[in-house]
Structures are given as structure tokens and as C-alpha cells.
């Protein structure tokens, strides 16, 4: 048994090294556009994994992720924009004096983005999590919209509908994917702990879980808050990737994409969410060609169909939920067992032939 654990440990290190090499290669060989897509994929991976925690592992249908992203994004934006930028950009109404001269370094700002979102999650969770599935969905959607509307209207803090620009930009593959990997590791750790056990119990059968002595509300709130934290983190990273934020960015469209990623990857599979995040993010870009006019063999020109991407993704969501509900990975994860089993059987077969 120890030998297996050791082998797995080594395999994990090798895997991480391989990923690091890939990132290194990517950083130096891919063009800006491709790097940006991969960074976006990393952000969506964080979002997917965090929503999966709430929806796939704890069984709570939360549609509020866009709102938490918004909180995280604005927090980091306000904290990291230079005072000079702030003076220029807040031109409808000057920024609140308390915030005018702050300029934080990036890492604490991003972390605070996550923490602020977590606080929102905690506060929202108190009323919302008492509700059942469908009501919870609408309630979290409602809160998300309320956040967005508040942001649009508190102009001295957020510059309202005009949004914020000149947010310090982060371009490196390393940062985003490091964040993604850390998120995955943390959430995996949580899921393998007694918390994770409680989450799954709540998802499978709330009444039985309560009978086993699990404090349902406390654990739901915990899961929800952790999900909100990572959503806020992702939002903050998004702000630094795109370098501008405005309230219309955080409409339901975002939540839909994250939902698609979770469903496509498998509600209950972290690996699935990561894979699906890559597929969806890259797919979004690839499908842009559908929206541009196309030249078929230089003979026929097919006009572009704007909005067709989302049609395709909506159909994809419907197809998965109707016919292949467990998504790509169901509740399974990538692990080394599969590989080791195959190797063991190979070994046995070779031994068998030799004998």
C-alpha cells in the first residue's frame, strides 16, 4: 500500500512538473491572443470548480456566481487603479474621498476581492439557504442582480454604468494557472475532509444527513461562502485580465457559461470542470468564425451570424442535460489508479506469458 502511495506521489510531482513545463513553453511561444484565451480558461476553471462545489457536491442550485465575480472584480479594481486614473475615469461624480488615494499591490487586492465576495456570500447565504432548490435559484439570481444594480447606482464608489478602466493588467500564464491549480488543490482538500463528506451527504439526502448529526445549515453556508470566495477571486483575476469592468459584464450570461461548464464537465467532478472550462473557453473563440462571414472555397460567401455561438452552447447544454446528464466525467476524477491498474494488468499478462 505504501508503495502505491509513493508511486502516486511521484506521479503527481511529475505531472505538476509537466504542467509547469507546458506553461513555460506556452508563455514563451504562444502569441498574446492565445495566452489570453488560456488565461481566460484558467479563470473559468476556477469558476467552474467553485460552482461545482456548491452545485455538484453540495446540491445547492445557486445562480449567483456572476454577482460574486462582480464584487471581487470591483474590489480589486478600485484598490489597484492609480489615483491618477481614478481622477480621470470617475468623471461623472468624483470618487469617494476615502478611496481616491489608495493604491494596493496586486496580490492583496485580489485576495481581498475574494474575501469581500465571501462576506457577501455569507450575508446572502443566511436568508437564501433556507430555501429549496427552485426558490434558491431565483433568490440567488435575484441577489446577483441586486448587486449589479447597486453597483450601477453607487456612482461615487463604482463609477456606475461607465465602469472602470486602466486596471493594472496581468498577462502572465503563470499567475492565472497557478491560481487555478491552487484553487483546485484547496477545493480537493476541502472535499476530502470531513466538510466534504458533510457536503456530499447533504447533496444525497438532506434528511438522512441531519439524522446523522450534520448541521445542515452551517455546512450549506460554509460551502456557499467558499464558493463565493473563489468566484470573487476569479472575478478579480478577470478584472486584471481584461483591464476594464462594468456592470453589464456580470449579467446572467456569465452564470450561464459557468453552469454549462459544470454540467458539461460533470456535476461532481473537479477534473471534469477543468476540462470543460478549457473546451468551452476555447470553443467560444473557435466558434467566433461562425459569427464572421465565411468564404466557402472562394466561391460562396456565407454571412456571419452574430449570436450563433450562444445558440450552439444553449443547444449543447440542452443536449447534455437531456441525454447525457452526467456530463463528461460524471462524478469521477482523473486519478492514477486507472493507469496503475492498467500497468499491473500488463505486468500480470507478461508474467503469465513468461511462465
Amino acid at each position: 500500500m505504501d508503495e502505491q502511495l509513493r508511486t502516486k506521489f511521484i506521479l503527481n510531482i511529475v505531472f505538476l512538473l509537466a504542467v509547469a513545463l507546458l506553461i513555460y513553453w506556452g508563455q514563451h511561444n504562444l502569441n498574446n491572443f492565445e495566452i489570453r484565451i488560456l488565461n481566460l480558461a484558467a479563470i473559468f476553471a476556477i469558476l467552474g470548480v467553485s460552482l461545482n462545489l456548491v452545485l455538484g457536491f453540495t446540491g445547492m442550485f445557486s445562480l449567483g456566481h456572476a454577482g460574486f465575480m462582480c464584487v471581487g472584480a470591483y474590489t480589486t479594481a478600485i484598490l489597484t487603479m492609480s489615483p491618477g486614473s481614478k481622477a480621470i475615469i470617475y468623471f461623472m461624480e468624483p470618487i469617494h474621498p476615502v478611496l481616491a488615494n489608495i493604491q494596493w499591490p496586486l496580490l492583496p487586492a485580489i485576495l481581498l476581492g475574494g474575501i469581500t465576495a465571501a462576506v457577501f456570500g455569507f450575508v446572502i447565504g443566511f436568508p437564501a439557504l433556507r430555501l429549496r432548490d427552485d426558490y434558491l435559484a431565483i433568490a440567488t439570481l435575484g441577489f446577483s442582480e441586486i448587486i449589479r444594480i447597486i453597483v450601477t447606482n453607487t456612482i461615487t464608489i463604482t463609477n456606475g454604468a461607465l465602469g472602470l478602466k486602466n486596471i493594472p493588467s496581468i498577462k502572465s500564464l503563470w499567475i492565472y494557472w497557478l491560481a487555478a491549480i491552487l484553487t483546485i488543490l484547496v477545493i480537493k482538500r476541502i472535499l476530502n475532509s470531513s466538510w466534504g463528506y458533510a457536503f456530499r451527504a447533504i447533496r444525497d439526502n438532506e434528511i438522512a444527513a441531519e439524522a446523522m448529526g450534520i448541521n445542515i445549515f452551517k455546512h450549506k453556508l460554509l460551502s456557499f461562502t467558499i464558493g463565493a470566495f473563489f468566484a470573487g477571486l476569479a472575478g478579480a483575476l478577470m478584472a486584471h485580465l481584461i483591464t476594464s469592468v462594468d456592470p453589464t459584464m456580470f449579467r446572467f450570461l456569465f452564470t450561464f457559461q459557468i453552469l454549462l461548464i459544470v454540467v458539461l464537465g460533470g456535476m461532481g467532478s473537479i477534473s471534469g470542470s477543468v476540462v470543460a472550462a478549457l473546451i468551452v473557453t476555447i470553443g467560444m473563440e473557435v466558434l467566433r468564425i461562425v459569427e464572421q462571414p465565411m468564404d466557402l472555397f472562394g466561391v460562396v460567401e456565407i454571412p456571419g451570424l452574430p449570436g450563433m455561438r450562444m445558440v450552439i452552447f444553449s443547444i449543447l447544454l440542452l443536449l447534455v442535460i437531456l441525454f447525457y446528464r452526467q456530463g463528461l466525467m460524471g462524478t469521477r476524477e482523473f486519478n492514477w489508479d486507472w493507469l496503475l491498474n492498467k500497468l499491473d494488468r500488463l505486468k500480470d499478462r507478461m508474467r503469465g506469458e513468461a511462465a
Binding site: 436568508p127 427552485d134 435559484a137 431565483i138 442582480e145 449570436g307 447544454l317 442535460i321 437531456l322
Partner: protein, 297 residues
């Protein structure tokens, strides 16, 4: 506030309330019978508005023909959506069918963008229906009277349907105990399809009236009204048709009056509905008229 403006606001709230009520009934009927928040319901109002729009402008049909076709096609669409996207998931966990509803809603909206374009288009108001009425100093649109009247007629028709007709009583029976209703040879599928047909028709009529009142159509026009109408249904008591009517009027009234009396927070107008939702769900989840619906077990 002067009397004129107050009257204007009251008229507006009756109009808005009527529209909300019409659409809210569809939500509550569907929820009552299969316990689903039909996210796609509101998009049906958009579909109806566009069919009417094209009927009048491209096919140069008389307005009433275009309207009838719009209602019929929308009802058919509603039934088809149920058969394709909700029926197969009837025995699945509720989250699954909710996701399906979100998928359908998104699909409709984006098909709208693809087929028609995201830019809003002005809706052709038929002259026979929309004209200006002058009463002394004040003038208002005929719609201010027509919409509530149409709404009340429809509401009366729905109540008649649900209380007096065989299929209506069957709908109410199925919403409580579909298995036992089966023992009376009630075909649950037929009843559910009928529910969707009626609800979708109401949404279609609501959509057409809406586009006459606020004469602009765009693919996302149903999103906010949809959410608010669902909230109205919850406010009145989800599953209760009189509740949906009441909720629609109350929400419309509160929304208009809020902006009228506190114009400086009019930016928060849309958030207001959500605040009401949260409050209702916390303190009286059964709504004004309903029984306590949010059970834990």
C-alpha cells in the same frame, strides 16, 4: 404630487399590473402542475411580439390576424417545449429540469438575436387599438383602458376554465395528486400540455399588449418582465391563480408608486422586485394568498 400626475401614475400602475398579472398566471399554472419555474415562459412573450411584428410589417396582415397567429404559434411552441425539454425529465431531480428550462430560455433569446438582430425595433401599433383620449386637461392612450379590460376578461375566462370545466378541475386535481388523478383515467400528459397551452397563450397576449404599450421589441425584452412576473406569482402565492393576479397588480402598483414618490432611487426600480422576493421568501413563503409551500421534507 398634483392630482393629474397621481392619476397618471395610478393609471400606469393598473396597466403595468395587468400585464404582470397576465404573465404571472402562466408561471403559477405551470409551477402548480409540475413544480417547475419555467424560465422560458417570459421568452414566449418575446416570440409572440416578434411574430406579430413580422406578421404586420412583412406579411402585411391585418393586425388581428397577426395577433391570432402569434398567439396560436406561441401556444404551440409552449407545448412543444414541454414535450421536448421538460417531459423527459419528469422523474429526474428538480435541479435537472431547472437547468433544462434555463437552457431553453437562453436558446430562445439567442435564436432571437440570430434571427432578428439584437437591436430593438419599433413595434407597429395598430391605429384601431391605440389612439389618444382627451378628458379635459389630461390625455392618455386608449391602451390604458384596453389593457385592463382585456386582462380582466381573460382573468375571468381563466377562473371559469379552472373552476367550472372538466379539464380545469382535472388540472387542479393533477397539481395535487397526479397518481390518484390517473385512477380517474385522467391523462396527465394531456392535462399538462393543456396547462402549457393556456399559460403560453396568456404570455403571448401579454407580450403583444406589452409591445403596444412599450412599443419596442428586442430579443431580451422578456428577461426582466419574466423575472418580475415570477416574483409577482410568488408574492401572490405560487400555485394560486388568483394569487398571481393579485401579485401582478400589487407588484405593478408598488413599482410605479415607488418611482413616482421617490424618483431619486428610480435606478433601483428593478432591484425593488428582487427585494420584495427575498422578503416574501423569508417571511411568508406562501405568498399573500397561498398555503405554506416551502416545506422541507
Amino acid at each position: 404630487m398634483s392630482m393629474d400626475i397621481l392619476l397618471q401614475n395610478i393609471a400606469n400602475s393598473i396597466t403595468l399590473g395587468s400585464l404582470y398579472a397576465l404573465i404571472a398566471i402562466g408561471y403559477t399554472m405551470v409551477y402548480g402542475i409540475i413544480r417547475l419555474i419555467n424560465f422560458a415562459h417570459a421568452d414566449l412573450l418575446m416570440v409572440a411580439a416578434y411574430i406579430a411584428f413580422y406578421g404586420i410589417l412583412i406579411f402585411t396582415l391585418p393586425w388581428w390576424v397577426a395577433f391570432l397567429i402569434a398567439i396560436a404559434l406561441t401556444a404551440l411552441l409552449g407545448i412543444s417545449i414541454e414535450k421536448v425539454a421538460y417531459k423527459p425529465l419528469r422523474s429526474s431531480p428538480r435541479i435537472t429540469v431547472l437547468i433544462s428550462a434555463i437552457g431553453v430560455s437562453f436558446l430562445l433569446e439567442n435564436l432571437g438575436i440570430v434571427a432578428i438582430g439584437a437591436r430593438p425595433k419599433p413595434f407597429p401599433r395598430p391605429e384601431e387599438l391605440v389612439w389618444n383620449i382627451h378628458l379635459g386637461d389630461i390625455s392618455f392612450l386608449s391602451l390604458t383602458i384596453i389593457i385592463p379590460i382585456v386582462t380582466f376578461i381573460l382573468l375571468a375566462a381563466i377562473i371559469f376554465l379552472v373552476k367550472k370545466t372538466k379539464i380545469g378541475i382535472a388540472m387542479r386535481a393533477v397539481s395535487k395528486d397526479v397518481e390518484t388523478a390517473g385512477l380517474m383515467a385522467v391523462d396527465a400528459n394531456r392535462v399538462i400540455s393543456t396547462t402549457f397551452a393556456v399559460g403560453s397563450s396568456l404570455a403571448a397576449i401579454g407580450g403583444i399588449l406589452w409591445s403596444m404599450q412599450y412599443p419596442q421589441v428586442d430579443p431580451l425584452m422578456g428577461v426582466f418582465p419574466g423575472l418580475k412576473c415570477f416574483i409577482a406569482a410568488v408574492l401572490g402565492g405560487i400555485g394560486s391563480i388568483p394569487g398571481a393576479m393579485l401579485g401582478g397588480f400589487v407588484l405593478g402598483f408598488l413599482e410605479i408608486m415607488l418611482v413616482a414618490f421617490f424618483p431619486h432611487i428610480s435606478g433601483y426600480r428593478d432591484a425593488f422586485a428582487f427585494v420584495i422576493l427575498i422578503l416574501i421568501l423569508l417571511f411568508r413563503p406562501g405568498g399573500i394568498l397561498g398555503e405554506n409551500v416551502v416545506e422541507k421534507v
